[in-house]
Symmetry: C2
Subunit: 202 residues, 2 copies
């Protein structure tokens, strides 16, 4: 399951691919990906960061831990597919390991926000960009009313924020596919198919 | 359980009180409040909004539905304890129903962000302001590692955002109490005690 089940048409090399996945907060993207990755044999892209490692964290598995000067040098040399400064630390996706995985025939999944996806799209437009979207308003309302752990106002604010994030994602025009997370099992199947597909973008 | 179990010292009137509750996103505040309210007999403050009612929503229960001119008039006349414009609609807390509930001896709970709490504090400093805070870093890390549904980077971003919100809340200096949501049952007990207490601010 770790590689494409049949070779690409131009030779024996299996079809490695970068799949960029985004979604508004609260859409269930993390749960979805944690179910999808074991099914597809895809691997998560490992980010680089300038923050210090914490106990139990391994360089190359949890993060590539690099100094700020080294990170900035990688940015200058075009070695980051995307990067951002968040809460005083730099985070980014080094291109090298992603390209190595693709050449080895692996699907690589990058879980990133819209700003990151836009940067990746500029450098690797041939990657597959997937947007996880919430169910339609009616389904969502029914689900939330069943839950009833928040006030109508808190719910409005949360849904409004998700709507705004979704709109920004759609406005970016970088996404090739949308997966509606209405039923988790069904959404897992749809995302598995997108990650495994041979056709489409190279 | 709907009112104070013994009268305040200055007479037979029960001790109604406004309790303002805030907490960074993801801290579990909604779940906590949904458990605490039935225990204390406290009522949620009902917000006013300029958005249209949706099917099933009742005026005075889910929201006070008001026109924008009416909302703006209430703001000008000082009848909103706090308000904000969010995603094109106005939301606020009308002072009238809160004061009526307090006079009737009820505890009224307002679930609001820090910006709202600061506004309420300016108008009703005698209210009780409670901040729900996440467990210490170590407990949180252990809990998250057990869950493992997100990448280290997504986790960093989420925790960083919560940290920033918490810092902003503490910087506001309006909160009288903090409730650590480490163990849900224990946190429920602590918040129940704060809502039921007779002493402290009038």
């Amino acid at each position: 399951m770790n590689q494409a089940s049949h070779p690409a048409s131009d030779g024996p090399a299996p079809a490695g691919r970068l799949v960029v996945v985004s979604g508004p907060s609260g859409v269930g993207k993390s749960t979805l990906l944690s179910r999808v990755l074991p099914r597809t044999g895809a691997v998560f892209s490992v980010s680089a960061t300038t923050r210090d490692p914490r106990p139990g964290e391994q360089d190359g598995r949890d993060y590539f831990f690099v100094s700020r000067p080294r990170f900035e040098e990688m940015v200058r040399q075009g070695q980051m597919l995307e990067w951002a400064e968040v809460f005083g630390h730099l985070y980014g996706t080094p291109a090298g390991p992603v390209l190595e995985n693709i050449r080895a025939g692996r699907r690589v999944v990058l879980d990133i926000d819209v700003q990151g996806a836009i940067q990746v799209h500029a450098k690797m437009p041939q990657a597959v960009f997937v947007l996880i979207v919430p169910p339609d308003e009616q389904t969502l309302q029914a689900r939330l009313t069943a839950r009833r752990t928040e006030t109508p106002r808190q719910r409005d604010l949360r849904l409004g924020k998700a709507d705004q994030e979704l709109q920004a994602a759609r406005d970016s025009k970088v996404y090739d596919d949308e997966v509606v997370n209405d039923d988790l099992d069904a959404a897992v199947e749809r995302l598995v198919r997108i990650i495994q597909q041979e056709s489409g973008k190279a």
